[in-house]
Structure formats: C-alpha cells, structure tokens
Subunit: 189 residues, 2 copies
DNA sequence: GTCTATAGGTGGATAGAC
DNA sequence: GTCTATCCACCTATAGAC
C-alpha cells in the first residue's frame, strides 16, 4: 500500500472514530492530511471506497478483540473473555461499534457488514457449544443460547452508548459484570 | 391547533416513519403538503421545532403502547403485556424506535428524549416490583431485574432492526417470544 | 398565508494547469 | 500528484411582492 494512501486512511479513521461516519468528508479528510480534497481522488475512486475501507478495517479490529479471547484455557474462560472483549471493543471504539451493530444505513459501501455480524454470531455459538459439551452450561440448543447471550450484552452496551443509563464508564463496567453474572446463573446446569 | 399546522405535522411524521429523520427536510415536507418550503415558516419557527414536535409525538405514542399493558388483570400479565407492547411498537414504528432508543444525536431539538428513557425504565421497575411482591418473580432488586429485562428485549429488537438476524418479522416474533420465555424461566422463584 | 427570488452553507466530483 | 477553478446537488432560511 502506498505511503499516501495509508496517511489518508489514518486521517479518515481518526475522524470516523471521534465523530462517526458523518464527520468523514473528502474536505475534512484532506484538511487533516494537509492536501486539498481533489488530491484524494488520485488514491481513492470516490468517497464510498474510502469510507468502506475505514469500516472494513474496523471489522477486522473487532475480530482481533474476539480472537484474543481464544487464549483462555477452558471453554468457560474463553466465553467469559469473549464477553469482556466485546465490552472492551464497545467502550474503546464506540463509533465503530455503532456502525457495525447499531446502524442500518451507513455501511452502504461496505461489503463486510452482514458477514461480520454472522461471524460474530458463529463465534459465539462455538463458545457456547463447547461450554455445553464440557458441562459448564445447561444442555440446550447452542444457537438459541448464543442469541440469548448476544442480545443481552448488545442490549446493555447499546443502552449505555445511547445514554439511557446516565452511568459513567466505570459504573457501567460494574453493571455489565453483574448483569452477565446474573445471565449465566440462569443458564448454568 | 391550526388546520395547516396539523397537516404539516402529519406530512413530516409520515416522512419520518418511512425514512427516518434524514428524510425530513423542509422541501420534502412542503412538497408532500402541496406548498413551497417557505410557507412552512409561517407555522413553525424552524426545522428543529418541526422535527422536535414529530419526535415528541412519537414519545407519546410509545407511552400509549405501554399504557395499554396496564389493562392486564395480574402483575405477571401486566409485565407480559408490556413486553408484547414493546415489541409491537418496535415493529410497527421502527424508525421511531431507532430515534428514541438507538441513536445518540438526532434528538438534539427535542427535550423529551432522556426523560422518556427514564420513564420507560421506571415503568418497567414498577411492573417488576409488583411481580416480586406478589411472588411471580424471585426476590431481588427491582432496578437490577428491570435493567436485566430491558437490556434483553432491547438487544433482541435492535439486533433484528439492524438486520443481524436476517429473520422475517414473523420469525422474529417467535424468536422474541421464546427468548423472553427463557428469560423469565431464569428469573422465576 | 403563500408565493418568487435569493442568500449562504455543505457536500461530492471533474477538467485542466503545473 | 497536487493544485485552482468550477459545477452540481441539496439543504436552511429570509425579504418582499401578492
């Protein structure tokens, strides 16, 4: 990848992370890079391509968070770390979380959006399945349990990001911990 | 309220419900009413006032859905109907649901947004409390249980509205029913 | 109350000089 | 590769005629 292209993508990503997709315009990106807007068209076909690459990078970043959870030694530790990784991503990159999981529109340009939600779901199904097989979770359909868990953590996170709770980040981390604990107590054998 | 003002609000509401806040422009509203954009300024100070009234009407509409749940005869029936009302509102007015519960920004003009989320939460706390007192739910902190339930149903609904599940509305209604059933089995005495 | 005309802003994108 | 100049589309909002 060319030097210039990378600098443009970095600028676009910084704008996106601090202000969402709406903050990314050809003019704002160009200003941040220190060139004029027209110069960007030497490196990207159009705005859709630029924004699409920013968002695809975000998907890969989320995948990285989840992947780290696989370092856990046991099934239940991997599941627990997955929940923690999910929370970390949401709190560290809220605008990206919004784009991937809370918005319908802004991923027009981007091909990887639905696949990414699929992948998230399948990753979670795998974590649940191994927990059930190993006896850490009650016998049940892994898909149903996975959706049950995902809906719950996504609901918590998105209520927080929307400002429903009026909690600080620290308070919310504690709320999240307790709520997930309660969730698993209802799913245990 | 003047005749003209009502017709303008109706047009704005229709545009909002089908295309979200972004679909409401002074031009689009005016065209729908059959006048020019400038005419609207005789009836509304500016766009913020117009959009704000549309959204406030949406809040009141949501309140109406919940209120109907109070017709249930027993605490558990009122709680169960509340969950159904929540689902009905989300599926019948998805754009309004998004604006109230899934977006940070677009309620700038509108004063009633955070209060409305507060009210939703308190309504649910009341439903939970009477279920606990009556023995239909396990002894616990009503606030914690209410958040637990809200996060769950909100998570289900918003994953569906975001397109995560790829389900049809009928399939999702069934998923919702089963997931809520599972939720309460974990909260029962 | 509604119109036409118009000001002023933001955004995406292209042509052609350098 | 980057610039200037420019076009086009779309938006909010105001002034003043009717």
């Amino acid at each position: 990848m060319s030097e210039a292209r990378t600098r443009i993508l970095d600028a676009a990503r910084a704008l996106f992370l601090s202000g969402g997709a709406g903050a990314v315009t050809m003019r704002s990106v160009a200003e941040r890079v220190g060139v004029t807007a027209t110069a960007l068209y030497r490196h990207f076909e159009n705005k859709d391509e630029l924004l699409g690459e920013v968002i695809n990078a975000g998907f890969r970043g989320f995948g990285g968070y989840l992947y780290r959870a696989l370092q856990g030694a046991t099934p239940q530790e991997r599941l627990q770390r997955s929940g923690q990784a999910y929370l970390d991503f949401a709190l560290e990159q809220p605008e990206m979380y919004r784009t991937i999981f809370m918005s319908t529109r802004p991923a027009e340009a981007c091909t990887a959006r639905e696949p990414s939600m699929d992948a998230t779901f399948r990753f979670l199904v795998d974590r649940v399945r191994e927990c059930i097989q190993q006896g850490a979770l009650r016998q049940d359909e892994p898909e149903d349990v996975a959706l049950f868990i995902w809906a719950h953590v996504h609901g918590l996170v998105s209520l927080y990001l929307t400002g429903a709770s009026g909690q600080t980040e620290q308070e919310f981390r504690e709320t999240y911990r307790r709520s997930v604990e309660r969730l698993f107590s209802g799913l245990s054998p």
